[in-house]
């Protein structure tokens, strides 16, 4: 039995490693068109800022490690140009063919570049290790005096903050009225203010029609990072007869099976289910890719595992402010047909007499069912923990009533007697009645 995995980053290497764990005798080969596998894309902004010293620090394991320690064959520089399901073969650039019994497609996504001027030498995306290397080389050799980032998603925000941390004045352009795609004006305002105090000017409602050699939308920029979101790599799969879902990414079931027998997909090329709406969603993130990959690998090796989906948790770490979101924002919930109500509070993150800082929590619930639908948390500390509590509650379908009385930890140096989560929930209960 041979398992072929196309793509050697988060989903692909998770699949290969998990398959190996379940079946010591399976032949496993990973085909990666780049030069490295198993690296941490989400660390790139922190390489830009200088907090990660060497690009190699972002490489979690080398191909040699997988060969030696896991008995997984890894071929880098191996680009698959076709999948032939009838023959159970993949074709590599150069014509070589490889047979598979099981196939995991983990070919990721690619960054959007659809702006005139995107090919200018001072314009970069921030998607792979090579991008990171090129940007830092450009900064160190060309010493740009000002930068622009285009796109107010999580990569754009973290990249803008990272460039500002290096001392570059940064303008961050967002075509729409909001960042992070939440249609949440207050969240945007708070982030905008914070960025401004850290050297990043956020320009909302400013679509960029063209990048010029030294300016973007009339603002000087000697370095430009495109952060326009990503598109799933689906062409290879589509040509082989793999079905796409309504989001345009590869459709998989809970076992990560595509419509083709023995063919799985996982990671940024595939869609998943949003557990709050129950609908397919395309939310390409490293954590999800790892989970999907794990399940694809387990099932490809004869296991029976499932991945039910996500609730849309995301966090960004700016200097001095973390912002976490999960589930649906008020606007998103309305679009999904709920009758949502939201409450937002600012509350101390521990007992005041031990040096509290304000944390902002917003919760959204459905008026009809009393079910919690989503939330956001902003603050200096404890943001990951608090957004994760909301994520757990969403996964469990916890009613707001129960959420408002959660038995959360309290000790004055670490958390206040009424956690901001509970304070927000109490506020939302009032709004619901």
């Amino acid at each position: 039995m041979q398992l072929v995995v196309i793509g050697g980053v988060a989903a692909g290497m998770s699949a290969a490693a998990r398959a190996r764990r379940l079946d010591p005798n399976l032949q496993i080969i990973v085909l990666e068109r780049g030069t490295q596998v198993s690296w941490a894309a989400c660390g790139l902004p922190f390489y830009l800022s200088g907090r990660v010293g060497k690009l190699e620090d972002l490489i979690l394991h080398t191909p040699e490690y997988f060969e030696r320690e896991r008995n997984i064959r890894v071929r880098t520089g191996a680009e698959v140009t076709a999948i032939q399901p009838a023959r159970r073969q993949v074709v590599l650039r150069g014509g070589e063919r490889l047979s598979y019994d099981r196939l995991v497609i983990a070919i990721g996504a690619r960054p959007g570049r659809s702006i005139p001027g995107a090919d200018l030498p001072h314009v970069f995306t921030l998607h792979c290790l090579e991008d990171g290397r090129r940007i830092r080389e450009f900064i160190e050799q060309r010493r740009p005096r000002c930068a622009a980032v285009i796109g107010g998603g999580y990569i754009g925000l973290e990249a803008a903050d990272a460039l500002a941390e290096r001392g570059l004045p940064v303008t961050l352009f967002e075509a729409g009225p909001d960042v992070l795609g939440r249609q949440d004006r207050e969240l945007t305002t708070r982030i905008s203010r914070h960025l401004a105090s850290h050297g990043v000017e956020l320009r909302l409602n400013t679509p960029v029609g063209e990048i010029r050699p030294e300016a973007v939308a009339g603002v000087s920029a000697e370095l430009v990072i495109l952060a326009l979101g990503v598109q799933p790599n689906v062409e290879l799969a589509l040509e082989a007869g793999v079905e796409l879902g309504p989001t345009g990414a590869i459709r998989v079931n809970e076992r990560m099976e595509t419509n083709l027998a023995g063919v799985y997909a996982a990671g940024d090329c595939a869609e998943t289910t949003h557990l709050v709406t129950g609908s397919p969603v395309y939310l390409p993130l490293g954590t999800t890719a790892n989970k999907m990959g794990r399940v694809a690998g387990a099932n490809a090796a004869g296991g029976r595992e499932k991945f039910a989906g996500v609730v849309g948790t995301m966090i960004i770490a700016l200097r001095g402010l973390a912002v976490g979101v999960t589930g649906l924002s008020l606007a998103q919930a309305r679009k999904e047909g709920f009758d949502p109500v939201a409450a937002r509070i600012e509350a101390p993150d521990r007992s005041r007499y031990l040096g509290s800082r304000p944390t902002t929590v917003e919760l959204v619930a459905d008026r009809r069912s009393g079910r919690l639908l989503g939330g956001s948390v902003m603050g200096e500390r404890g943001v990951a923990g608090r957004i994760n509590v909301i994520a757990a509650a969403l996964t469990a379908g916890l009613p707001l009533e129960q959420f408002a009385q959660l038995d959360l930890a309290y000790t004055p140096p670490l958390a206040p007697v009424w956690d901001p989560l509970l304070a927000a929930a109490q506020q939302l209960r009032k709004a619901l009645t």
Copy 2:
């Protein structure tokens, strides 16, 4: 209509404040036998250590505040000696009688002192503001050179660390083999090691038979803190015909009603329900007291609120280590008749390349049902957030399968791609199958 609240700390003042919010016209009077109301008992260890400068910092609101801002009458130095339900009256020391339509009993608990020598002048409990004042005065005036703490519960642990923070060598005596009442040897070992490196020697299996003027169990101690746990104050209620539950604390239903019409109880004098076992439990903590008080006050004012119970969440903050527990430990789960399996892992609390520290997570699940039963988290950072995620999952009755794939936040500076919670859950899945 007159609402009388007996006791003016966490549960009592929460009840009064909540009742006022629901009914602006209700007469509300709080009877507190001490001199202050609404103070933060859980802050006392941090007053001892010196991190809280003034005892007054622990007073959240003064009686004058409640009178002026909330229209709640507060009488301090007012000790109730009897409740006469037939007449709907309470009797104060001195003979004065007060009528009530609704009564909230929030008379708290008292610290155990049942060791010969407990009345010596260098022996203290750490239960009320006056205790804090007396201990700090004793330290500043008498300059003890060594201290003992008796009892390895959360107060004993935090008090021992606080005294050590002031530079006193501390011996902490625990009669049983474990701290924090979890019957968890590994947790105890880890805490013991940490304490040792911070100037506290933990002596397990060392019941203290007697406190002598300068020594405890043969160890020099010029200052002794008794942390033997607390007993609910129930005598006043019992004499009035209020029923106790199996834990020996006042029995209440979800609405905080006692068996007497119009009489509610809340806080450290009452028991509640453990949501994992479904059984009555006595777990006197500030957070729970506030929640119970709120519900008692709401219902006393004509509302219809419920408090379902707790999952047993507790956290302690030592210097450089926080320890959180929730639900049942393995030993506790076994005693409750479950068929529990546990897994404990140590994992980095964020991406390694951004300076991770180890976090230890233990999860306990039931083999038969696959249900999560409890857990503990130990580490330097992020402990409150992680224990709260487990607490939320326990409240929702989340199966381990779902817990293991929770959509938790990931960004390298704040959380790793596989959160320690998920790593522990994956480990436990293996142990379950």
